[in-house]
């Protein structure tokens, strides 16, 4: 029997971006809040001080900050005819571990979705007709509009001190920014980062080919910044150790640099680390959660009663916890019935590698969300008529790093090892650029998450099973985007150009992105969503999933974090302004 703890107003499962934001907002509102986090406490100066945080072998190769499969993994298969097997090494995507979650190891790309993304199905059917979408594509409109979420994007970007150049302020186009973006209520909190030579050359080539390049929105500080919580961030040093690393210089927005020290000042907030929530407990009616049960590192079980349960783990593990707790009807891909696990989606990425003639690009001068981008081929920014696909993505030159172990570009035909390989890497390192596309991944009837029938974790609970493959729509889109990117790249007059469009089947053995979305989708109809428009469970009204990417109905052509953070604030306001006044279903 678990030992029962004194009740709290709110229990938060997972202390990453959404857990930190909800913790802050609700503790500030006077509620008694506890956050339970599976991994360890992580603090900038103690856990990734600049004296050793830039250790590529430890962090980028050996993945020190990430979840280990022996803690939790999932099984995988490409389609329903296969038998799924457990993932024994995370490679394609890398879930985080510990306080800060993915907010510690992200690059800092801070993108908003397009206004049309929020009414995707309606928009596409209106423009291209109902027959334009594949029959098994299960995309749907979001239950809120861009106009409604805009103030919350603004709040999250101000929390992060995001650097960039607006392209549209209150409907007025701004030169130098993204001409396709939705309106912004204000300019970015900090000016754009300085660009390296590679991104500058790409921007010239993009302009020459009729595109509109702009600096990538980045939560890496272009200058020192103090956020509305009083948290102070320092100027980025362009060291190029962002993704897979914690920032030792207080320069990358993270729960550590933006929220946690301010949150810890509240005496009514507690963090319980190295403790894994195993289930959300329900009362006898099944309509109300009574709290959670968690297990600590000694194996002892504890029950934490609470009036509100906030599911703030990584997207995939939000889905699993809902399945294990029996909240919402599990999705059945055969019948299309049920909702939990439905509409799992990912991201469709591709690249074009170029080697230039005489340039010295100094690629080690880099930061996570560095780069110049064109957005002409994202979402529905271009006419898809006759192209045979919907969706799109951004493309550009983003120099996230030039780290010595993994940055080893060589001309084609170079041996994979030995003296000639070494000579080629040293001759090529400063002349090579990898341009990339980052595109949507729409949802399909046969791409989903459910509990595996065979494999169990160390606590005896079923692992979650992922069934996913790229569909023809996404592969055609990737081929199209890669061709457009190659056209720009040709204007750089490279000595070598290699196109790498995304090809099927989806495999786990090459890193793509850690943008796993869907499974606990928010929507306007309980028949096709787990959560209502306030990220509240349709079935158990005191359970919320406040904005983790598991709530996305499909994935769009941008990185998810800005939308995750915006939805966290959106849900926090709904809880404070609506739910606390009258606890019950908000819809």
């Amino acid at each position: 029997m678990p030992r029962k703890l004194p009740p709290k107003d709110v229990v938060i499962i997972g202390l990453g971006w959404t857990g930190s934001i909800l913790g802050y907002e609700l503790a500030k509102a006077g509620l008694d809040v506890v956050a339970i986090e599976r991994g360890p406490w992580r603090d900038t100066a103690t856990d990734f001080p600049p004296g050793y945080s830039q250790d590529e072998l430890r962090y980028a190769v050996r993945l020190d900050l990430f979840l280990r499969p022996d803690q939790e993994t999932l099984t995988f298969r490409n389609n329903m005819n296969q038998t799924a097997l457990p993932i024994r090494n995370f490679v394609s995507f890398l879930p985080g571990n510990g306080v800060g979650g993915a907010g510690v190891h992200w690059n800092g790309q801070t993108w908003r979705f397009l206004p049309t993304d929020f009414r995707l199905r309606t928009h596409l059917e209106q423009r291209y007709g109902k027959d334009a979408l594949p029959a098994d594509m299960t995309i749907q409109d979001w239950p809120l509009s861009y106009d409604e979420i805009e103030p919350f994007y603004d709040r999250f970007e101000k929390l992060c001190g995001t650097s960039g150049k607006a392209g549209n302020i209150k409907g007025v186009k701004q030169s130098g920014g993204n001409p396709f973006e939705g309106w912004r209520s204000s300019e970015y909190p900090t000016p754009p980062l300085k660009q390296g030579l590679g991104a500058t050359l790409f921007a010239e080539a993009a302009r020459k080919t009729g595109h509109t390049p702009f600096p990538q929105p980045a939560s890496n500080m272009s200058e020192a910044y103090t956020n509305p919580l009083g948290m102070k961030l320092g100027q980025c040093t362009y060291c190029g150790f962002c993704e897979r690393f914690g920032c030792g210089n207080y320069s990358k927005a993270s729960p550590q640099t933006c929220v946690l020290p301010a949150l810890l000042r509240f005496p009514n907030f507690t963090a319980q680390t190295e403790s894994e929530v195993t289930r959300i407990n329900l009362d006898s009616t099944g309509k109300r959660a009574t709290g959670v049960t968690y297990v600590d590192t000694s194996g002892e079980e504890w029950e934490q009663p609470a009036n509100i349960v906030l599911v703030c783990a990584y997207a995939l593990f939000n889905v699993r916890l809902m399945l294990l707790s029996g909240i919402g009807k599990p999705y059945d891909a055969q019948t299309g019935q049920g909702v939990v696990g439905r509409n799992y989606a990912y991201q469709t990425t591709s690249s074009v590698a170029v080697i230039l003639k005489d340039k010295i690009l100094n690629p080690f001068i880099a930061t996570g969300a560095h780069g110049m981008i064109v957005d002409d081929y994202n979402g529905d920014n271009f006419d898809h008529a006759g192209l045979g696909f919907v969706g799109g993505g951004y493309m550009g030159m983003g120099q996230t790093n030039g780290r010595p172990i993994s940055t080893r570009p060589v001309p084609s035909g170079t041996p994979k090892w030995g003296a000639r390989w070494k000579k080629a890497t040293s001759e090529t390192y400063n002349r090579a650029m990898s341009l990339s596309t980052h595109a949507s991944s729409y949802s399909y009837k046969d791409c989903y998450l459910d509990l595996d029938p065979s494999y169990r974790d160390r606590l005896g609970r079923p692992l979650m099973r992922m069934t996913f493959d790229f569909h023809e729509n996404e592969l055609k889109m990737s081929a199209f985007l890669t061709e457009r990117l190659a056209e720009i790249a040709k204007a750089l007059d490279p000595v070598e150009l290699t196109k790498n469009p995304r090809k099927g089947p989806y495999t786990l053995n090459a890193y793509q992105t850690t943008h796993n979305t869907g499974g606990t989708v928010m929507g306007g109809d309980p028949a096709n969503s787990v959560l209502n428009r306030y990220c509240q469970s349709w079935d158990v009204h005191n359970v919320f999933i406040p904005g983790g990417a598991s709530v996305f109905p499909q994935n769009h052509g941008y990185n998810p974090t800005d939308t995750v953070g915006a939805l966290a604030y959106w849900t926090a306001d709904a809880i404070k302004d609506r739910y606390l006044r009258n606890p019950g279903p908000l819809m």
Binding site: D43, T44, A45, T46, P49, P50, G51, Y52, A224, T226, L229, G230, M231, K232, L233, G234, Q235, T237, C239, G248, N249, Y250, T257, P261, A262, L264, R265
Partner: protein
Amino acid sequence: MYRSLATATLLVATCNVTFAQDTQSFDRIERGRYLSVLGDCAACHTAPGGQPFAGGLALQTPFGKLVAPNITPDRETGIGNMTDQEFIAALHEGRGMNGKRLYPAMPYPAYTKMSEEDVLALRAYFATVLPVSNRVIANQLPFPFNIRQAMMFWNTVNFTPGRYRPDPQKSAEWNRGAYIVEGAAHCGTCHTPKTILGGDKNDEALAGAALQGWFAPNITTDSHRGIGAWSKDDLIEYLKTGTNNWTLASGPMAEAVTHSTSRMTDEDISAIATYLKDSGERDSTRKPDPVVAEDNVMRAGAAIYKDSCAACHTDSGTGEVHLFPRLAGSPLVQSGDPTTLVRMVLLGGRAGSTASMPTAPAMPAFDWRLNNAQIAAVLTYVRNSWGNAASAVSSVAVANQRDTGTRR
């Protein structure tokens, strides 16, 4: 708290008899609570993680270990049986219950300046805190220092009892500041250099002193080693938030800011700043000539600085306001005693967190990465670059601190 400067002066200078007699008055207890903040009583009398004022924090003095006693109103183990007269005698004369001599780790040489009604207000407040049964063996000094009677001799040499006497030439605000600095807040307990007996060197008041592995910096108006270059607003911001354009509080001062100065009224912080900015010009220390940049140690230090320090403190030593302390022009960096500097590089340190400046950024430890000669070189470089000038740091000094340094 204090509605106006006039009221503040009144409270300092006069004795309100009717007020003093009502020990249950809310105003008086609240005033006592506030005085306990001014005096930062909890810093010594509350053990880390312990019950408020139940004692138990061990103070490492140069003479041995003293443990702060339980000052909750528990009758057995606290001060529940203490009379008001005994309480006054403790603060004003350094005599505890039954006339027992106190050690000056209890800063009665400063508290003696507090008015009697303030002491009684403090007494009234302590009578209201939760009584906690916690027996503390206060005197853990070795022989011969454990003989309390020795304090009679110490007091004749080092202790001048007597209340604060306002200076009529100065403003009410200045006098309020002096009353707090010299009395309740007992700033000199850390910041004033000590004689061999541990008494204050009164002619060097607030000129900086080493204690417990730190150097409490010079806070006189000395423009080179003190805070002469700080504006009054700089001082106010520092005491209020723990940081200003020049530096961030860390170590014991971070605790003092967190628990005491940041909780003071704006009027009192302003009064302290007024007093510190106007307590006598003291450019007694001549600015030394800097170690020249061509010196081999300086060149080695420059290279180490570039590798290990410049990312945060910047190439020009300017740091970042409220985040990374400024090294160029910093009095602490150029202080005669580099104890704090060596400690910071060896062990690192963390700034305090306050309501308006919650970040509490930290300096990482470099003891595992830099050897004694390297630390000496980089500190010599920092102390003699960007207009700074101070004596070179020796690797022997670093070695000594590495061996004896207390862990965070």
